[in-house]
């Protein structure tokens, strides 16, 4: 029996192909040299955790976003997609991008085409208990950027 026949409603909305792809082949896992942002975040309700590190290139733009952690496919795929999408952005652009992602996850009306393949996570917003999974890495980076903005470049 095909999986589609087994799972008539939920699974395709939740687990789009691109999400499963990032889960099975996570991008940018690891750490960066000389991070300007280094932040760890734990989701106590499910025990998931993630660490995100960011390095800046000579042009002042994000050179690399790397991450590591453990969690469900949604949280890991989301971290992986985020790490790709933010490369080349300024820190201000990254902050705006993060806010745009949060707005999409809150189902706020808007044009989210600039999020690219990350729009695949829009389906998760229909599953309230999983929104925290999708946003974990993003909250982690948001907090890391705030701390970085406060003057502590080394992180913790």
């Amino acid at each position: 029996m095909s999986l589609e026949a087994q799972h008539p409603v939920n699974l395709n909305a939740l687990y789009q192909e691109v999400i499963l792809d990032h889960f099975k082949r996570p991008r940018n896992k690891g750490t960066v040299e000389n991070p300007v942002v280094k932040k760890h975040l734990h989701n106590p309700t499910c025990g998931d955790d993630v660490e995100v590190q960011v390095s800046i290139g000579p042009d002042g733009r994000i050179d690399q976003v790397k991450w590591q952690g453990r969690g469900c496919s949604i949280s890991m795929a989301s971290a992986s997609m985020m790490s790709q999408a933010l490369r080349g952005k300024t820190l201000e652009e990254a902050k705006a991008f993060i806010q745009s992602f949060f707005a999409m996850m809150k189902s706020e009306p808007g044009d989210y085409r600039s999020l690219g393949e990350i729009q695949a996570l829009q389906g998760v917003s229909k599953f309230p208990v999983r929104i925290k999974c999708a946003t974990l890495a993003w909250h982690c980076l948001e907090e890391g950027l705030k701390e970085q903005g406060g003057g502590s470049a080394s992180g913790s």
Binding site: L3, Q6, H7, P8, V9, N10, L11, L14, Y15, L20, F23, K24, P44, T45, C46, G47, D48, D49, R70, G71, C72, S73, I74, F127, R130, C133
Partner: protein, 410 residues
């Protein structure tokens, strides 16, 4: 005697539905059980026929409500072998009962340097109240070590008792994560020999097996009503009479007094002393009906049914490659915690849900135990009187689908 599961299922309207196009398979009974229509009808009958406040008023409705409310107390008392119904205090849940012991007894009795023994196996509800009690009194909490299979290390328990000053021992009869049943009678006796009182979290035991509080000989036990076919918002604290008399109430106000003057007040007798304000009348009456239902089935039969299901589930689940079962095979209540290599519990639960199967995933309010097992979360399937081997087959089948979906490679 084997339970007539087909007939039992007829009593549970909620089980008759489809979830995502599949018949519901409800395997989250350790979180809360479903309610038979007799229990639901008891709520309707109360509100339609004799809704009135209890222990006051001498009109017909009040008398009937009081009789039903106190009748429920007697039923619970019989279920657990209590010498007297007065030793049963109704609470909102198990957590409230444990806090009543913490506030009414432990916080008043414990001194700096006194010891509370607890374990890393405990539900947060039997952990955090003691940590807070220690904070307030200067007592210390010591934890019984776990053996590699997650059972309590009895040598560690003996050592802690030998170290002295132990005033209170708090542990669960059955673990809500591992399902393991602790050697209660033996552990209680040891605590008493060391001069300590014992409070048992019996939340995962009372719904599932014959219980005799006299045999356990603990000083207090707590249980929850909604995990044994009763409504949410019900539970009870049982205690030895002299201790209940000695304990201070947690809440003050109406119903719990014998006399009130502007200069002060005296408390009513046990159990009224602990039931301030209008109690949860309708739900407690319905809990009494839930106890009737279980009593009619026979707790020995309930236990045997769960045991057979758990044995079958253990056999089937352990045959699936990549599945790891936690805890020893027996003795255990009707639940199994497990993980599936490469599939996070949230993802597994999503696949199971798509096939109409409800299990619990997460830390089960037992984070220290999760740390010990070195997992962020587990999957937990828990069984009750209405579950069948065919439902376990569906669970196992869905596990294979999940492995296929997430591309598990052995």
């Amino acid at each position: 005697m084997a339970l007539d599961v087909a007939r039992i299922r007829q009593d549970f309207p909620i089980l008759q539905q489809q979830i995502n196009g599949h018949p519901l398979v409800y395997l989250d009974n350790a979180a809360t059980t479903q309610k038979p229509r007799q229990v639901i009808q008891a709520l309707v009958d109360y509100y339609e026929q004799y809704n009135a406040n209890v222990h006051r008023g001498i009109h017909a409705l009040a008398e009937r409500a009081t009789e039903a409310y106190e009748g429920a107390r007697a039923k619970v008392a019989r279920l657990i072998g209590s010498p007297s119904p007065d030793q049963v205090v109704f609470t909102r849940n198990g957590t409230e009962g444990l806090n009543m012991v913490a506030y009414g007894w432990a916080r008043r009795r414990l001194k700096p340097g006194d010891v509370i023994i607890c374990s890393a196996l405990e539900h947060h509800s039997n952990l955090v109240p003691w940590q807070q009690t220690a904070r307030e009194t200067g007592a210390v909490v010591k934890y019984i070590d776990l053996l590699p299979d997650g059972t309590l290390n009895q040598e560690s328990y003996d050592r802690l008792l030998d170290e002295g000053n132990v005033k209170l021992v708090a542990f669960s009869v059955a673990s809500n994560v591992l399902g393991t049943i602790n050697p209660v009678t033996e552990m209680v006796a040891k605590a008493h020999r060391a001069g300590a009182k014992v409070v048992l979290d019996a939340v995962q035991a009372v719904p599932h097996m014959p219980v005799d509080v006299k045999e356990w000989d603990a000083d207090w036990i707590v249980a929850s009503g909604h995990k044994m076919l009763g409504p949410t918002g019900t539970g009870f604290l049982w205690g030895k009479m002299d201790l209940l008399e000695e304990m201070e109430p947690t809440y003050f106000g109406g119903s719990m007094i014998s006399e009130v003057h502007l200069s002060g007040a005296k408390w009513a007798k046990v159990p009224a002393k602990f039931e301030a304000g209008t109690p949860n009348i309708a739900d407690v009456i319905a809990l009494g009906v839930a106890v009737d239902y279980l009593t009619e089935l026979g707790m020995e039969n309930v236990h045997e049914h769960e045991k057979a299901l758990t044995e079958y589930a253990w056999e089937r689940l352990s045959s699936v490659e990549g599945v790891r079962l936690f805890g020893p095979r027996e003795p255990r209540t009707g639940l199994i915690s497990f993980d599936v290599d490469g599939i996070h519990p949230h993802d597994l639960s999503a696949v199971l849900n798509a096939e109409g199967i409800a299990i619990r995933v997460g830390h089960h309010c037992a984070q220290p135990l999760m740390e010990f097992l070195d997992v962020p979360a587990t999957n937990r399937a828990s069984f009750y009187i209405y579950n069948t081997p065919q439902e376990i087959d569906r669970l196992v089948e869905a596990l294979y689908h999940a492995k296929e979906f997430f591309g598990y490679v052995a």
